[in-house]
């Protein structure tokens, strides 16, 4: 989960990382209550990058300017995202700008400290200056000092910059982050430091064990969590805007393999859902059966999806249970539907691929549902693609 800049800076402030005086602007009228003296910088609070180049950061010197600029920013989509909040911040004249980050590295399987003496937008153009320190053992401040030395810092900056890195690492561990980045870290002529922009990514797995972060994540989702398992990021993703096939499977790799096969066979996939494990250790997750039903409902909402390929492999659940779950979904939609003709149902055609024990025992149930039950993956894929090509649009 990515935090917005102002949220990241709230955490910085709590940790004692220096940030500028700033104020959250929720609506234009907040500008009049601005307590920071002009000149002020107004910054669009969006999660995507390239905000500056897109016009989402504006420098203003009067209230009239500020209102106009805020109005523009509130209506300016950046990579499709329009801000809910604009951050008003004091202006800062940095003498130099550094880049600092703590990030998880999957290769060394350790957190890594990153630092460059050329931060700001320059960091991308001078990647060779980006220094790394792997935190192989338990963290101690000397790792941070090691980074500053590699960055080429000298004198008082060694301690002041490593002090900030130490605090970033503290945040990284305390809040279970994937990434905490300060870019740029402003350095004044007198050596004073200021975190001018910040990026924080919380690891999705860890959100639930932090009460404060759980709350933030629910606000981002903008609905009470758990309504539909596939509303939450990571369990579903869109492939092709113009696709008409939905894929559901139990396991990320299996779903991706199915997607590749369907696409290779000429099918156009709109949405993929990962049902996850058949049985699970987390009692707050919906049961596998509920997840199948919620997945079918989720795909049914999208009227452009004509065909759903359900691909289940393994020993949990059993084929008969699968028939039951799919049956429940169909029954609900048949009873809602006035037109009982199969050719024009309101829900997508379902192709069930199942591989596991006791496949045969479920064959009869599937036949009763008019849902083809296929054991071969390749065969299921070609049926789904064929069906999708011949389907008329759903009502």
């Amino acid at each position: 989960m990515d935090l917005l800049e102002y949220q990241a800076k709230e955490w910085f402030r709590e940790m004692g990382i220096p940030v500028l005086p700033s104020q959250k602007i929720n609506c234009i009228s907040d500008i009049k209550g601005l307590k920071i003296p002009y000149p002020v910088v107004l910054k669009s609070q969006v999660r995507t990058g390239g905000r500056g180049r897109a016009g989402g950061v504006r420098f203003v010197t009067t209230t009239i300017d500020a209102i106009a600029a805020a109005q523009t920013i509130f209506h300016l989509p950046i990579l499709g995202e329009v801000p809910e909040v604009v951050l008003a911040e004091a202006k800062y004249d940095a003498d130099r700008e550094f880049y600092l980050a703590v990030v998880l590295d999957t290769a060394t399987r350790r957190p890594v400290l990153l630092g460059s003496p050329q931060g700001g937008i320059d960091v991308e153009s001078s990647l060779e200056l980006l220094q790394q320190v792997v935190v192989d053992g338990e963290f101690s401040p000397f790792y941070a000092r090691r980074l500053t030395i590699k960055m080429g810092l000298q004198g008082a900056l060694i301690n002041s910059v490593s002090d900030i890195v130490e605090k970033m690492y503290g945040l990284f561990v305390q809040k279970d982050l994937d990434l905490v980045e300060i870019n740029p870290l402003g350095v004044s002529a007198t050596g004073e430091l200021m975190a001018l922009d910040g990026k924080v990514t919380v690891n999705d797995r860890a959100i639930v064990r932090h009460a404060d972060i759980s709350l933030m994540s629910q606000k981002i989702a903008r609905r009470p969590s758990g309504q539909n398992y596939f509303d939450s990021l990571g369990n579903s993703y869109q492939v092709e805007q113009s696709g008409n096939i939905g894929i559901m499977g139990n396991g990320a790799g299996l779903v991706m393999a199915t997607l590749d096969l369907v696409a290779d066979a000429g099918g156009k996939v709109k949405t993929c859902l990962n049902l996850g494990h058949g049985s699970n250790l987390n009692p707050s997750l919906p049961s596998f059966g509920d997840r199948i039903e919620q997945g079918l409902e989720f795909l049914e909402q999208d009227k452009s999806i004509q065909v759903v390929l359900v691909n289940i492999i393994g020993s949990v659940p059993k084929a008969v249970e699968l028939a039951e779950f799919i049956g429940k979904f169909i029954q609900r939609h048949e009873s809602n539907s006035t037109n009982k003709h199969r050719a024009a149902t309101s829900y997508p055609r379902i192709i069930a691929r199942f591989s596991g024990l006791a496949l045969e025992s479920a064959q009869e149930q599937f036949t009763a549902l008019s849902v083809p039950l296929v054991e071969s993956l390749d065969e299921a894929v070609s049926q789904a693609v064929r069906q999708a090509k011949s389907s008329s649009h759903r009502k």
Binding site: Q132, G253, L254, D260, V269, S315
Partner: protein, 293 residues
């Protein structure tokens, strides 16, 4: 790694349905499940498996344990693994999905200091068809033979095993290192083990987008592996940036959103390592047959 059929195995989190169900399946498969652990359930029996409150009680009563299988909820997995290490267990398979990566960092520091092997988390474990089942692989998809499967997935691994089995090709081992950002064991470690394993004559490596472990594996195969390797990478058509939680975030920061972690990057790596690539699961058996000729 000690993978003898008579090696002593423990199940932590034995009270979870999935744990006792798979426990009894493993026993039926011949795995020497000695005991289960769940605090508060000492003295009880689950599917014929006696339960204890603490791992050290099991060791005191039964003697040294070779491998423990961890089925506890995600946020308790770190503690369960540390408890096992403190009790002298040096092979740990973490079945539980959802462990926060920093818990794994903590665990790996301890594991490396104590020379403990961690497989997982979020892994179905290891199967040696016909001999030993250490985890949740559905054994019905496997048949004994000489092809080793190394993967990051669960169900996709079974799919591959099934394709091989259907084509009359048996397997020497099926192992998943687990689908999470930070995995205990690596492709490299398993490639090395299977290269040395006399029961294995060819290796199938199954990868997917995210991280850079496939790229590292491809380089390693070119340099150090003598046996034939076939690779299959799922997710060629998956949208960029959606890496199912596998993203190597250092690589993302340093690479700044380049080709890092995509199926394309992995396919290119295997191509340049001259490792035959299967386009789909069903193609794997023929490539294996060709490689073994």
């Amino acid at each position: 790694m000690i993978l003898q059929p008579d090696s002593k195995v423990l199940i932590q989190g034995i009270t979870a349905d999935i744990a006792s169900t798979h426990g009894s399946r493993m026993k039926a498969y011949g795995t020497n499940i000695m005991a289960g652990v769940n605090p508060g359930s000492g003295g009880q029996i689950y599917h014929d498996i006696p339960s204890f409150d603490l791992v050290e009680q099991v060791v005191a009563e039964i003697g040294a344990i070779d491998t423990t299988l961890i089925f506890v909820p995600a946020y308790q997995a770190l503690d369960a693994a540390l408890e096992a290490i403190a009790a002298g267990i040096r092979q740990i398979v973490i079945i539980s999905p959802g462990m926060p990566p920093l818990d794994m960092v903590h665990l790996l520091r301890k594991a490396e200091a104590t020379e403990t092997i961690i497989v997982g988390p979020n892994s179905p474990g290891i199967i040696i068809p016909g001999k030993l089942l250490l985890g949740t692989h559905p054994s019905e998809f496997y048949t004994p033979g000489s092809v080793g499967i190394v993967s990051r997935s669960s169900t996709l691994t079974y799919e591959i095993a099934l394709e091989l089995t259907k084509s009359g090709i048996g397997q020497s081992i099926g192992v998943s290192i687990g689908g999470d950002t930070i995995a205990g064991s690596s492709f490299l470690q398993w490639l090395q083990m299977l290269d040395e394993d006399e029961n294995t004559s060819a290796i199938v490596l199954v990868g997917e987008p995210g991280g850079n472990s496939e790229e590292a594996a491809a380089r390693y195969i070119a340099e150090a592996i003598d046996k034939p390797v076939i690779a299959y990478i799922a997710g060629r058509k998956a949208p960029a940036g959606r890496h199912w939680g596998h993203t190597g975030t250092l690589a993302m920061v340093v690479g700044r959103g380049e080709d890092v972690g995509t199926a394309q990057s992995k396919l290119a790596a295997f191509k340049s390592a001259k490792v035959p690539l299967a386009e789909r699961p069903a193609q794997i058996p023929e490539l294996v047959k060709k490689a073994l000729k």
